[in-house]
């Protein structure tokens, strides 16, 4: 028999627990505390491993980076920043938080433009990926089951080669005496002079769309593949032609797939480092390049950390809000 539900954080249920636990259960993140209450037995061990992993390899490093971002830069120090927390001789804890690094991010035109450029590149790359990936995912989902696996394998196949190598291969294709220019200029003479494709935004788009296309296709495919064909037949039966049926049935039903694929492309594209470094403009940096320059060239750890934190907040917070909103809508629909 299942015991009656215990009230969160009530004394009798947690008599053996310390006040800290009671506080956490009462005021901590609700889902997490509910989880603890409902699975207070051996099951928690199973979930403890991934939680521990996240704690050690994500949350703690994140807190360290957060701390460094508020520190004062000391070029000659080792590590190159002043401590944030310091025990003074009188037994007092001195906390010194500087927001200078963050202020700098928003005032320095180089940073602001890098931000906008990164967002722009990521946004349009996502759009291109969607425009290319949707028909491909749709075609795969609609092909006979025997062909489907082969087609999916072809989508995943590039992953067998190193990412870096594939981007370098694009250098070979795009550069002034590269393959594309050889064909267009030397052999066929379609263009009057070799096209300058390297170190342009165009090359960055090519690189990002090429590299991240599978991340758009796979979630879209897994969504489209589940679609019930009779819904399309019903739409046709009710008088909607093929285009109308697609717009009013398939497209809205594939919205979760579009969101998943777009997030999987957009998020890494904003922070993309390798592709713009190898193919991109030299006069217009993307945020990730800026971050690495601050870190490795200027050794300004606080500012690099501030860039990292700002990137995280700017990307993760809207996504979390969005997902919360979507969850709420889902729950509302279920009720």
């Amino acid at each position: 028999m299942k015991p009656a539900a215990r009230t969160l954080g009530s004394r009798d249920a947690y008599g053996r627990l310390s006040p800290l636990w009671i506080f956490l259960l009462r005021y901590g993140p609700p889902r997490w505390s509910e989880y603890v209450v409902q699975n207070w037995t051996g099951q928690r061990l199973v979930i403890a491993v991934p939680y521990l992993w996240l704690l050690v390899f994500f949350l703690i490093p994140f807190l360290i980076v957060l701390k460094i971002s508020f520190a004062e830069f000391s070029p000659l120090g080792r590590p190159p920043y002043e401590p944030v927390f310091q025990w003074l001789e009188e037994g007092a804890l001195q906390v010194k938080l500087l927001i200078g690094s963050y202020v700098y991010l928003f005032n320095e035109p180089l940073y602001v433009s890098a931000w906008f450029y990164s967002l722009k590149v990521a946004f349009f790359s996502t759009l291109f990926c969607l425009a290319l990936g949707y028909p491909m995912a749709y075609a795969i989902a609609r092909s006979p089951p025997t062909q489907r696996n082969v087609l999916l394998l072809l989508i995943i196949l590039p992953f067998w080669t190193s990412f870096l190598l594939r981007v370098y291969a694009w250098v070979g294709l795009l550069k002034t005496d590269g393959l594309i220019n050889q064909v267009l200029f030397k052999w066929f003479g379609i263009v009057d002079e070799p096209l300058a494709m390297m170190n342009t935004s165009f090359a960055v788009y090519i690189g990002i769309v090429y590299s991240y296309l599978p991340f758009m296709i796979l979630p879209l495919y897994s969504n489209l593949e589940k679609h019930d064909n009779t819904l399309l037949e019903a739409a046709q039966d009710l008088g909607a032609g093929p285009i109308k049926s697609f717009l009013r049935v398939t497209l809205p039903l594939s919205f979760p797939g579009i969101v998943a694929g777009s997030l999987l492309v957009f998020i890494p594209a904003v922070g993309e480092y390798v592709i713009p470094s190898l193919l991109g403009r030299t006069d217009q940096l993307m945020v990730a390049k800026l971050l690495s320059d601050e870190f490795f060239l200027n050794r300004d750890w606080p500012r690099a950390s501030a860039v990292a934190i700002a990137m995280l907040l700017l990307l993760v917070v809207p996504i979390m809000i969005f997902q919360r909103f979507q969850n709420k809508e889902l729950q509302a629909a279920r009720k």
Binding site: A235, D237, L238, G239, A240, P252, K335
Partner: protein
């Protein structure tokens, strides 16, 4: 009192297929559909009249769904043609046919409310204003009694409610022909019975012609004005529910509709008003009080329904024909009727159903391993040749 003339008139109106001059509303002519080597529908011709509920009945894979899909336009026939209200449907895509379908799975759009689902079809029509659409949606919601559920999504509805949404969505288009694919298959028994009558009421109210596909003979019996029984891509008999049940034209129909005891035999007497069949299955002679057309000496099958056989505890005095001795092997008490499986002397099992009219005590009731005599009236057997 109806005069003879008026009776024919009424009959022709209710049963237009008896009137040779009646114009068929749906005309299916020599339709064949092949998938590779497999012939799903084989040379089917059908005439369906306006306002009918026509049931296509058959087991799975008999081609009934393929025929329905050809009417809807989802499959195109390999040969033959379909006329709807005089118009040839060849090459007309599903979205331009004046035909709507209610899908077996209902195929409701999960991302739309009940209201939007129903309005979807109307929004595709040209020349309908927003207020027209709203009125028609409200009206149909009234008819299917779903008014309070207009703002719900399909997954928030019960099976019966979804079924009614699917029906409303198809009916709101005012189709010339409504196709229903196993319309009640997903409902439980009680709900199914209630819905059957509701469906008939709605059909009478709106006067739409229905073609229903089902594998459930009970469903087809209650719904249909006529039934077309299908087997292996062919229509094996067309008739009213009574005709199909009481006068099956062949062994398949007799066997498929309801349960039946089939006795193989040869004709020993073949007169216009009576027939005698010697059956080794039965170990005796079957007397039939009506004539049948068959070659003398031919192998025939006498089909006798379980409810048309009576059980006696003593041998009947007057006759040796239409009578057989056996031992009760199984009894199944179903509440309204009891089913007895009687093993006759030849070893064949005969199924008999008796209505439980009286509450019998244990001594009065026929029990296991009791020796009994089975008899039936000369009008009961139906004789089929194949």
């Amino acid at each position: 009192m109806l005069t003879a003339e008026r009776r024919t008139e009424k009959k022709n109106k209710d049963e237009p297929w008896r009137d040779p001059h009646a114009e068929a509303y749906v005309r299916i002519e020599n339709i064949t559909k092949r998938f590779g080597d497999f012939v799903a529908v084989n040379n089917v011709s059908l005439k369906i009249f306006k306002g009918e509920i026509f049931c296509l009945l058959g087991g799975s894979g008999c081609g009934k769904s393929t025929l329905l899909r050809m009417l809807a336009g989802f499959e195109s026939p390999s040969s033959g043609s379909i006329f709807l209200d005089g118009q040839d449907m060849a090459g007309v895509p599903p979205y331009e046919r004046p035909v709507n379908m209610m899908f077996q799975s209902y195929a409701l759009f999960p991302h739309m409310t009940v209201e939007k689902n129903i309005a979807f079809g109307l929004e595709q029509e040209k020349g309908l204003s927003r207020s027209d659409i709203a009125t028609r949606v409200t009206d149909i919601l009234e008819i299917v009694k779903l008014g309070p559920f207009a703002a719900r999504r399909p997954h928030q509805l019960s099976g019966g409610q979804r079924q009614r949404v699917a029906l409303a969505r198809a009916l709101v288009k005012r189709p010339k022909l409504l196709l229903l694919d196993e319309p009640l298959g997903a409902l439980d028994k009680k709900l199914r019975e209630a819905t059957q009558f509701e469906l008939i009421n709605i059909q009478e109210q709106l006067g739409v012609t229905f073609i229903v596909v089902t594998h459930d003979q009970e469903e087809s019996m209650t719904l249909a004005s006529r039934i077309g029984v299908m087997n292996r891509g062919e229509i094996v008999q067309i008739g009213t529910p009574t005709e199909i049940y009481e006068f099956p034209q062949n062994k398949f129909v007799a066997d498929f509709i309801g349960s039946v005891n089939m006795f193989e035999g040869t004709m020993i007497e073949d007169l216009p008003d009576r027939v005698r069949i010697k059956s080794d299955d039965l170990g005796g002679v079957i007397y039939v009080d009506h004539g049948i057309s068959s070659a003398p000496g031919a192998i025939v099958y006498a089909a006798i329904r379980p409810e048309k056989i009576s059980i006696l505890r003593a041998p009947p005095a007057d006759t040796t024909e239409n009578c057989v001795k056996g031992v009760v092997k199984e009894i199944a008490y179903m509440g309204d009727v009891s089913i007895y499986l009687v093993k006759i002397d030849t070893g064949k099992m005969v199924r008999v159903t008796l209505p439980n009219i009286e509450r019998l005590s244990d001594d009065e009731r026929i029990l296991w391993d009791e020796t009994v005599w089975l008899t039936w009236h000369g009008s009961s057997p139906v004789v089929v040749t194949q």
